[in-house]
C-alpha cells in the first residue's frame, strides 16, 4: 500500500484546507495516510475556535471557502478517516505549549505522539510538510 504523511505546522487557513483535502482524497484512494499536527497548526484545532470559525490567518481564498460554506479542514479530515485508513496525530510538544489537553481539541485525533514516534510511523513513505 502506498504511504503518505502530512506534517501540518502552519496556522494559515488555506494551507490547512489544501493539506486536509489532499490527505482525505489519498485516504479514500486506498493509501495509508498519517497526519501530524504540530506548532502553529495545533491552535487551529482548538474545538472552541473551530466552532466559532475564529480562524487565525485567513486570506482571500479562505474567506471564499467560508462564504461558500465549503467543507472545512476538520470536516475533510473526519471524512478521510471515516472512509479510509487515515490517522491523525497531535504533537505532544505543541499541546504542552498551548497548555491545552486533547479533550479541548476537535475530535479528529487518534493519539498524541512525539516527533520520534511520528518519524517511525512515517518511515518508508512520502512526507509532505505544510
Amino acid at each position: 500500500m502506498d504511504k503518505i504523511s502530512f506534517v501540518l505546522a502552519s496556522d494559515e487557513f488555506e494551507k490547512l484546507q489544501a493539506a486536509a483535502m489532499m490527505a482525505s482524497v489519498a485516504s479514500v484512494s486506498g493509501m495509508e495516510v498519517n497526519v501530524f499536527v504540530t506548532m502553529a497548526a495545533m491552535a487551529c484545532f482548538v474545538r472552541e475556535r473551530v466552532e466559532r470559525k475564529d480562524f487565525l490567518r485567513v486570506g482571500e481564498v479562505g474567506r471564499k471557502v467560508l462564504e461558500k460554506k465549503a467543507p472545512l479542514y476538520v470536516d475533510l479530515l473526519t471524512q478521510g478517516k471515516m472512509m479510509g485508513t487515515m490517522k491523525v496525530f497531535a504533537c505532544s510538544l505543541a499541546l504542552d505549549l498551548i497548555e491545552k489537553p486533547l479533550s479541548e481539541m476537535v475530535p479528529v485525533f487518534d493519539d498524541v505522539v512525539g516527533v520520534a514516534a511520528f518519524l517511525g510511523i512515517a518511515e518508508g513513505g512520502q512526507v509532505l510538510f505544510v
Binding site: 483535502m21 482524497v25 486506498g30
Partner: protein, 80 residues
C-alpha cells in the same frame, strides 16, 4: 449504453465543491453490491477528472463521462 452499463443508481452531487462529488460517490459505492452502475452528477469540473482517476486507482470501471446541460454525468461500474 448496453444493459450492463445502464445506471441503476444516481449520486446527485450538483452544487458541491471539490472533492464533494468524489466523496459522495465513495460513500454510496461502498454500500452497493458488485455489478452496480452509478451515475455521479457534478457541476464541479475538477471532479470530472478526479473521479475517473480515483476509479482507476481503486480498480473500478469508468463507463463514461457525458456533458449534460450545465453539469456532467460520470458513470462508474462497481466490479469488485
Amino acid at each position: 449504453m448496453t444493459e450492463d452499463t445502464k445506471s441503476s443508481e444516481v449520486v446527485d452531487a450538483r452544487g458541491m465543491y471539490c472533492p464533494g462529488p468524489l466523496m459522495e460517490l465513495i460513500k454510496t459505492i461502498q454500500l452497493k453490491p458488485v455489478g452496480t452502475v452509478l451515475s455521479v452528477l457534478s457541476t464541479d469540473e475538477g471532479s470530472v477528472k478526479d473521479i475517473p482517476a480515483w476509479i482507476q486507482k481503486v480498480g473500478q470501471v469508468h463507463v463514461g463521462t457525458e456533458k449534460k446541460d450545465g453539469y456532467w454525468d460520470v458513470t462508474v461500474k462497481k466490479v469488485k
